[in-house]
């Protein structure tokens, strides 16, 4: 296929569901009433909500049309750095959708849910093997909740030791949710700036670590995609003052099968199963963010825990030091089923995932170096961060480059994050992309860099091929309209 994948096509307009509404239209046939009609008590009766009246075909066309405006990882390259939009293999969907799993009622007694409990137990063992840590809970419903779980456990640990602490160290390359998780536990985040090499130095940590500091939240590799090579020394400094180390496992996909989390000195780590184990990106829907811990934190893990006795599995809630329950039943089971499908499909070849993720990012980095400015030239892992310093001189910014990529048929990378890089373009191709697809993306990026010189206006006007061209983001954000107007 010659040229960029982005072309023009017929795009069908679609309004709000209310605009399709016609009085009396209905999409379902309700069975005839076979019990006597009962009147509701007055206090239960209110004004009818303004729901649209629609037929089945109205609803199907509405959502199908909207879906054609979408761009997903099943459509094309989606190199969103830090977010890790890797492909979700369809065998995961098939296995998670087997009726025995999909139709399992959450109230089913343990004796009749042995398969589901075994599935979770096996996934727990896989996560322990991947991280080399000691114990695990699959319960947290997303990466951010996994972070909160980890910090609640650190909080419970210090409380149990009899002396609560007040602060948590937060490197400037931390994920954005880290300070929020610490703050929810009542800890004040203490920011630490990174060195010119893009990593944290032991000196910077020694300067701020004290006996009122509960620990550190550290992402490795960090949000610049650079491995924190001082990690062992940093965690030693934290431990010497009685603190604990929260490892943000968001970037575990750069380490899986190669790094020993325990040797790094990490006490608790969360695993974003969408980033590392190919489950769908939650995006507010069901996700999972299991937490894996060193032995000292095991008593604080959420309950219930899954225990194997002989060849039977059961849920155990007898754990007096536990931080308690974080989710109804046992987390988002179907997401966990997809994660196990992935680890078992690949087995020892999970190491290839890590290799390819790192190789792909470094391939893109090598090919775009010089075309785009690379603020941190240090070796990087699963993602690389460029910025617009070269194009900016001609008035073309990171935002313009991202918008122009849409015209050429690619989802833009993450922009303006991490904050330590001015005008960041953060690219994470993941292991999903073939060399041919990566070449297509790289050539689109090169074409935009050339256009930024020859025809900057075209870049600044982009996107032009989409249904909606460039919205006025500033005006939209300043004058939010949060409710649809229902026509007469």
């Amino acid at each position: 296929m010659a040229g960029h994948p982005g072309v023009r096509g017929l795009v069908i307009k679609e309004g709000l569901l209310w605009e399709r509404s016609r009085k009396g239209r209905i999409g379902v046939s309700l069975p005839e009433q076979d019990v006597p009609r009962a009147e509701l008590a007055d206090e239960l009766v209110g004004e009818k909500p303004a729901l649209p009246e629609l037929s089945e075909v109205d609803v199907i066309r509405h959502y199908t049309r909207l879906s054609t405006w979408n761009f997903g990882v099943d459509t094309g390259t989606y190199p969103l750095g830090s977010c890790t939009m890797k492909y979700n293999p369809k065998i995961n969907e098939h296995l998670a959708g087997l009726p025995g799993f999909a139709n399992l009622h959450p109230m089913t007694p343990e004796s009749h849910a042995q398969g589901a409990l075994k599935l979770m137990y096996e996934l727990e063992r896989d996560l322990l093997e991947i991280t080399k840590l000691h114990a695990v809970s699959l319960q947290p419903a997303a990466g951010a909740q996994g972070e909160l779980t980890g910090m609640l456990m650190i909080h419970a640990y210090h409380a149990h030791k009899g002396r609560q602490r007040g602060k948590v160290i937060m490197p400037s390359t931390a994920h954005g949710t880290n300070p929020a998780s610490a703050a929810l536990c009542g800890y004040a985040p203490v920011p630490v700036r990174i060195s010119p090499d893009g990593i944290i130095t032991p000196e910077a940590i020694r300067e701020v670590m004290d006996e009122d500091t509960a620990g550190i939240m550290i992402t490795n590799p960090n949000t610049l995609g650079i491995f924190e090579s001082n990690i062992a020394e940093i965690t030693k400094i934290i431990h010497e003052k009685g603190g604990l180390v929260y490892g943000d496992g968001a970037n575990l996909n750069a380490l899986m099968g190669y790094a020993d989390i325990e040797k790094m000195g990490i006490d608790v780590l969360h695993v974003n199963v969408h980033k590392t184990l190919s489950t769908p990106h939650g995006g507010g829907g069901p996700g999972a963010g299991p937490v894996v811990v060193r032995d000292i934190l095991e008593p604080f893990l959420p309950i219930p825990r899954i225990v194997k006795e002989g060849d039977r599995y059961k849920l155990v809630s007898d754990a007096p030091l536990s931080i308690g329950r974080l989710h109804s039943f046992y987390g988002n089971f179907a997401t966990l089923a997809r994660a196990l499908a992935y680890t078992r499909t690949l087995g020892k070849r999970l190491k290839d995932v890590t290799e390819l993720a790192v190789l792909n990012a470094n391939y893109v980095k090598a090919r775009l170096k010089g075309v785009y400015n690379l603020p941190f030239p240090q070796p990087s892992m699963h993602e690389c961060v460029f910025n617009d310093a070269i194009q900016h001189k001609g008035g073309v910014t990171t935002l313009d480059i991202a918008k122009r990529l849409i015209d050429l048929g690619y989802h833009p990378p993450t922009v303006y994050f991490p904050l330590v890089v001015d005008g960041a373009l953060m690219i994470e191709p993941t292991e999903s992309e073939s060399k041919a697809d990566l070449d297509g993306f790289v050539e689109a990026m090169i074409a935009i860099a050339e256009e930024a010189v020859t025809d900057p206006g075209a870049v600044k006007d982009a996107p032009r091929n989409t249904r909606v061209s460039r919205p006025d983001e500033v005006r939209a954000a300043r004058h939010l309209i949060l409710r649809g107007e229902i026509p007469g």
């Binding site: 004040a188 941190f376 910025n387 303006y416 001015d422 500033v474 300043r478």
Partner: protein, 137 residues
């Protein structure tokens, strides 16, 4: 983002490393964000303000600024009680961009310890500090 030459750094104000300016009137301090910060953040679309009467601590966050690029904390330069907040920023957050030192002020604080101001940077020191931050390129 503005170049160093374009930056408007006022001689009558004192500054923090987190880019807030402070203007003293007796025991009251007016606090806002400086030209460096507003230019680095770009178009401000929302300002999260504290309530009048709230306590703020020097070096601690008291609110946040949201631009189309990012959300950033606002740090207080002084310790004390908030006696006024710039309510016009709720409807006109762009004042932080267009008039960071006048109409775009954020809070006024009754200072518990005006001596804290001595620790803040004068405009010359602040400019030297900003030079060390030259955007990572």
């Amino acid at each position: 983002m503005k170049s160093l030459e374009e930056l408007d750094i006022r001689g009558d104000l004192v500054y923090t490393q987190t880019h807030e300016w402070t203007r003293r009137t007796g025991d009251t301090a007016q606090v806002g964000v400086d030209d460096y910060a507003q230019s680095a953040l770009g178009d401000i679309v929302y300002v999260e303000l504290p309530s009048v009467g709230a306590t703020v601590n020097a070096g601690a966050a008291f609110g946040s600024l949201e631009s189309t690029k990012a959300v950033s904390d606002l740090y207080s330069s002084v310790t004390g009680k908030v006696v006024a907040v710039n309510e016009t920023l709720s409807d006109s957050p762009e004042l932080v961009n267009t008039s960071p030192y006048e109409d775009g002020w954020v809070i006024e604080v009754e200072m518990a310890n005006p001596k804290e101001l001595d620790a803040l940077m004068k405009s010359d020191d602040y400019l030297s500090f900003v030079k060390t931050l030259a955007p990572i390129e």
